[in-house]
Symmetry: C2
Subunit: 213 residues, 2 copies
């Protein structure tokens, strides 16, 4: 079983389970999803990131106690990934580092599509000089804005700009996974698109199904 | 179908097909294997590397003509990967860059187990500062030497040394895949082991089965 940690608070089990179900459907892995307490707005700045880390570690420990053979932290900023690795003996996979790693495996010039702001350090640090370009959709403040035509058009425009100087585009927000942006971009943009939840699932599949850890 | 390019010459179809069959058995992908002409000793220095590149490009083109939806160059030095990407519109996966990418996805301090010499530039360049340590089994000149007890012991010793300063160990020679070293090390060494052919298969699985490219 793969433990999937969502880094926000909700009582809606379907929302909590969404990324785990995506991984289950793509890779045939059993997943069990967890969310953290008392952060309904999730992680949105340095303070909320720090606040979330011990909660993520606690959720990952719970997953391991429940029988998880690996844990996936479903956030492109990799919150708590390092801390979880220090206390757990099972593989700990972060959406950001998984997406960066799969991106590097597909081409040396990696373009990063952020939701807002600049590339998370967890991704930029792994890519190093292979971070060829970064962009964010203009006028978009959160994934909800992508659900309307203007937001989706802005995301496509940003991806098309990245494709001019990148061999592969990494989607650096798991909110993009929730709305299925990768599928849309794959029919439009001329370079491979790496979805962060799918990338985490790919690495988890290797860890779990092949018992590599 | 995944085209698998072996970078040496042999008339033995079973040897040519070995890595493709490994990927087929692990990931359920259809594979078709190709070898290059007139290099029975494969790639062993800069001259033989250069000599092989146009042959690898020709083999990859043939694979694409035969219906390959992605090509895997099964050598940790990634010979011809860049050149194939310039002429093919399908994903081109190198064993070295795939192993480096999967390694980075599993931990920031990557140890590299080479067969002889230092880490191939294709791997070192992607890992950058995350190349935490490198080693090669003492007294081993080629994969044949690993088939005896002394060679296998030397490989285990080198991996144990790497594990002291690395979160994950990447096997930087596809000859290690042929002899099944990863499985041996996983029962002995306390950090995850990334096999280069398995890593290539993992990335190919994502590219092909999920039609991401």
């Amino acid at each position: 079983m793969l433990g999937v940690i969502r880094v926000f608070t909700t009582a809606d089990d379907a929302i909590v389970a969404a990324h785990g179900q995506l991984i289950a459907s793509l890779f045939g892995l059993e997943t069990r999803s967890y969310c953290i307490p008392d952060q309904p707005l999730g992680i949105y700045d340095a303070a909320s990131h720090q606040q979330a880390v011990p909660k993520i570690v606690a959720a990952a420990k719970k997953a391991a106690e429940d029988g998880a053979k690996a844990v996936f932290i479903s956030c492109a900023a990799d919150p708590g990934v390092q801390e979880c690795r220090q206390v757990l003996s099972i593989p700990v996979i972060g959406a950001g580092s998984a997406a960066a790693g799969i991106g590097l495996a597909m081409g040396p010039r990696v373009g990063v599509l952020n939701l807002t702001g600049s590339t998370p350090p967890a991704i930029a640090g792994l890519l190093g000089k292979h971070l060829a370009a970064e962009a964010a959709p203009q006028g978009v403040r959160n994934t909800t804005d992508l659900l309307n035509q203007a937001g989706m058009s802005a995301a496509i425009e940003a991806a098309n700009i990245l494709a001019r100087s990148a061999d592969v585009i990494v989607l650096a927000c798991t909110g993009y996974s929730t709305i299925g942006l990768a599928k849309v971009l794959r029919s439009i943009v001329g370079v491979p698109i790496v979805d962060a939840v799918e990338a985490g699932g790919t690495v988890a599949f290797y860890c779990l199904a092949r018992r590599m850890a």
